[in-house]
């Protein structure tokens, strides 16, 4: 499955991606073997807090695009818990959700389309100004008006 990161298609490492349960069993003993974890929508990202400095990839699963819990998981990881590794959206990742994902702190996207890079590039430039401060570093219009 192609992954778009920073706007380009990149190779994805072949290491094991843990479920949250298996990650929490493995990580305390063998962090080398626990660099990647996938969160399902009802997983609590706070459980990852002790290990965030060591994790390289957190995948957040969108079983259906209408299930927006992953946006809250991403915001928590980026803005509250300070996670700086790769945050990858997987599952039902559609063109018209990409901008919301970028703003919520995702930097990698699994997109099942041959022209994924073009779709991504077009989607993220459709809007250029935003009211809210967000995980992408945007300070928001309320603040920009008085900067």
């Amino acid at each position: 499955m192609p992954v778009i990161k920073n706007g380009e298609i990149v190779d994805t490492p072949q290491g094991e991606i843990h479920t949250l349960g298996s990650f929490l069993e493995t990580a305390p003993n063998d962090i080398e073997d626990a660099r990647a974890v996938r969160l399902m929508p009802d997983d609590d990202p706070n459980a990852l807090e002790p290990f965030l400095g060591e994790i390289e990839i957190i995948e957040i699963s969108f079983p259906r695009y209408t299930d927006g819990r992953g946006y809250s998981q991403a915001q928590l990881l980026r803005r509250r818990l300070g996670y700086t590794g790769e945050l990858r959206a997987v599952g039902d990742v559609l063109r018209d959700q990409l901008l919301f994902m970028v703003r919520s702190g995702f930097d990698a996207f699994e997109i099942e389309k041959p022209d994924a890079a073009e779709r991504f590039a077009a989607a993220v430039k459709e809007m250029s100004v935003f009211y809210q401060p967000a995980a992408d570093g945007e300070i928001g219009i309320f603040a920009r008006r008085h900067a």
Binding site: D67, Y71, Y131, Q132, H146
Partner: protein, 553 residues
């Protein structure tokens, strides 16, 4: 009213261009109707029984003449020359062609309007008191905070794919005309002991299949913390609200299943956990900037009594009836708040023609500081009219068929489009409203009955607010036949409650006579003419009215 700056204008312009691209992809066959559905639902476009329907946002119900004339132009150019005010202070056009919608959005952007937040599982257009900034019982004008909430919630990165749609209402008056207790979040402005104004936060109200009156989770949130507090509520809902069943996905179900106390604890815990970097910086200069758009207009110093008004009332009986019913006291002496009824006897409630919109726009410009409101009860309001000008306004409205004297009376019915338009409906609702209006058309009889709110929905989704009608009417389909279930005792004001079902459903043709018996029972039972129907229900209970309802059987 609020005016866009370059940021607001840019967002609306980019959104219109984005939607144009999405419509092009649909019309060229690049995407299917299934794939297009989530995109059009982000932009107020619904597929109805007969055609696409476009719902346009009217934030907190406020328009000026320029915007109203644009709506008239859209009605005439792209629809069948009329529009429909909704119970969320928006307007719907029922016959717009999909290919034309991008052009309509461009035209709307020219006058600082859009269709954002009118559909989809996002935070919807914020509603408010139609008399905001004019009412005498207001502790503060709620519109600046409605506008702040509008901006904060527009394309929110975290809260655009919620379990279900999410509705805010805000009021700044003691008397709640915005139904804040039956919204997902209701904000009621309050003054604390230190004299500062803030917000009572009410969560989990709503209608639909499982109606609830909202619960107060915080009696006073100060203004500077409001958006962060709202973010905490929204995050709890987004993470923990049910997604397994769309009929159990609203926040009212979460509050009810979790328990109000535990839900409140979750919100407070989330709010307390917010780091300083997560806080929304709303500079005081920004609050001041937005508040400045809602400064009171330049009222004249006028006497409380207008001689010309008194004389016209004496000379013209129709005017006297209209003024008594549709004009309410203004906070400024010498002015009145005028409700323009969009419920003429025998017409679909809330429908207005292009020419009626233009006349309302002219009157707003000439007589009401270019300010006109749409109400959740599907009427229009001229909020600031001099008593001296009322007769001229009345005469112009009369010529346009807009001077029905029935504000808050029995024929001022809230009604959803029902089976005549809507593909969710089980039964027709407009003909039921029309039958009742015809039955009680006599103005003196209506005045004698006094305030009585009838609300009609064509299905259990309750778009016609039947749960909070003093008398509610719900259309149900039983084996292919339409029946109407009657509820008593609902109300959406500061004493909000959900109506109780009186008994078995009635056939459509029996509804007017049955309700007439209820009304006659009320007239016999009231202690004095000023004791309203809802007051008698409170005092005596529902039994006498149930008996009257079924006495014809």
């Amino acid at each position: 009213m609020y005016r866009y700056d370059e940021f607001d204008a840019q967002i609306v312009k980019e959104r219109a261009a984005q939607f144009r691209g999405q419509v092009e992809r649909r019309l060229s066959g690049d995407i299917t109707e299934d794939q297009f559905k989530p995109l059009r639902l982000m932009n107020g476009v619904y597929l109805q029984l007969h055609a696409y329907m476009l719902r346009i946002a009217i934030p907190y119900g406020q328009l000026d003449s320029r915007k109203m004339r644009k709506l008239a132009h859209i009605a005439r150019t792209y629809d069948k020359s009329y529009g429909h005010w909704t119970t969320r202070q928006n307007i719907q056009f029922n016959w717009v062609g999909l290919k034309d919608i991008p052009d309509v959005l461009d035209e709307l952007a020219e006058v600082e309007m859009h269709a954002i937040q009118t559909s989809g599982n996002c935070i919807r257009n914020v509603t408010s008191d139609q008399f905001a900034g004019a009412a005498a019982d207001e502790i503060e004008d709620p519109r600046p905070w409605c506008e702040i909430i509008r901006q904060w919630s527009t394309f929110h990165p975290e809260f655009s794919f919620l379990p279900r749609k999410f509705k805010f209402a805000v009021t700044g008056a003691d008397t709640d005309r915005a139904a804040v207790r039956v919204h997902d979040i209701g904000l009621h402005m309050r003054r604390n002991d230190a004299g500062e104004t803030g917000f009572e936060v009410i969560v989990g109200g709503g209608q639909g299949r499982t109606p609830h009156v909202g619960v107060t989770i915080n009696p006073f949130v100060e203004k500077a913390k409001l958006l962060d507090y709202l973010e905490a509520i929204m995050r709890v809902y987004n993470r923990f609200g049910r997604r397994d069943n769309k009929y159990k996905a609203r926040i009212k179900i979460l509050v009810n299943e979790t328990g109000a106390e535990e839900f409140t604890r979750l919100v407070e815990e989330e709010f307390a956990a917010q780091q300083s970097a997560e806080k929304i910086t709303l500079p005081q200069a920004e609050v001041d900037r937005i508040e400045a758009y809602f400064e009171p207009p330049a009222f004249e110093d006028l006497p409380e009594v207008s001689d010309s008004f008194v004389k016209a009332s004496a000379d013209d009986e129709g005017f006297a009836h209209w003024a008594k019913t549709n004009v309410r006291a203004h906070k400024q002496p010498g002015y009145g708040m005028v409700t323009i009824s969009c419920k003429p006897i025998g017409k679909p409630p809330g429908d207005v023609s292009d020419t009626q919109m233009e006349i309302a726009a002219d009157l707003a410009e000439q007589y009401s500081f270019d300010d006109i409101r749409i109400t959740h009860e599907q009427n229009m309001v001229l909020p600031h009219v001099k008593l001296d000008d009322l007769y001229a306004v009345y005469q112009a409205l009369s010529k346009a068929g807009l001077a029905t004297a029935n504000y808050e009376l029995i024929s001022d019915i809230i009604c959803c489009p029902g089976l005549d338009y809507c593909n969710l409906a089980n039964a027709r609702s407009i003909p039921v409203a029309q039958d009742l209006q015809n039955k009680f058309a006599d103005i003196e009889r209506q005045e004698d009955i006094g305030e009585l709110k009838i609300k009609i929905s064509g299905c259990i989704n309750a778009c016609g607010h039947h749960h909070v009608g003093h008398i509610g009417i719900l259309g149900v389909d039983r084996k292919g036949e339409e029946f109407y279930q009657i509820t008593f005792g609902g109300r959406s004001d500061e004493l909000a409650s959900i109506g109780q079902i009186a008994g078995p459903g009635l056939k459509q043709e029996d509804v007017p006579d049955a309700l007439e018996r209820v009304i006659e029972a009320y007239r016999d039972l009231r202690s004095k003419p000023s004791e309203r129907f809802i007051d008698v229900l409170d005092r005596l209970g529902h039994e006498p009215f149930k008996e009257a309802l079924y006495a014809g059987n």
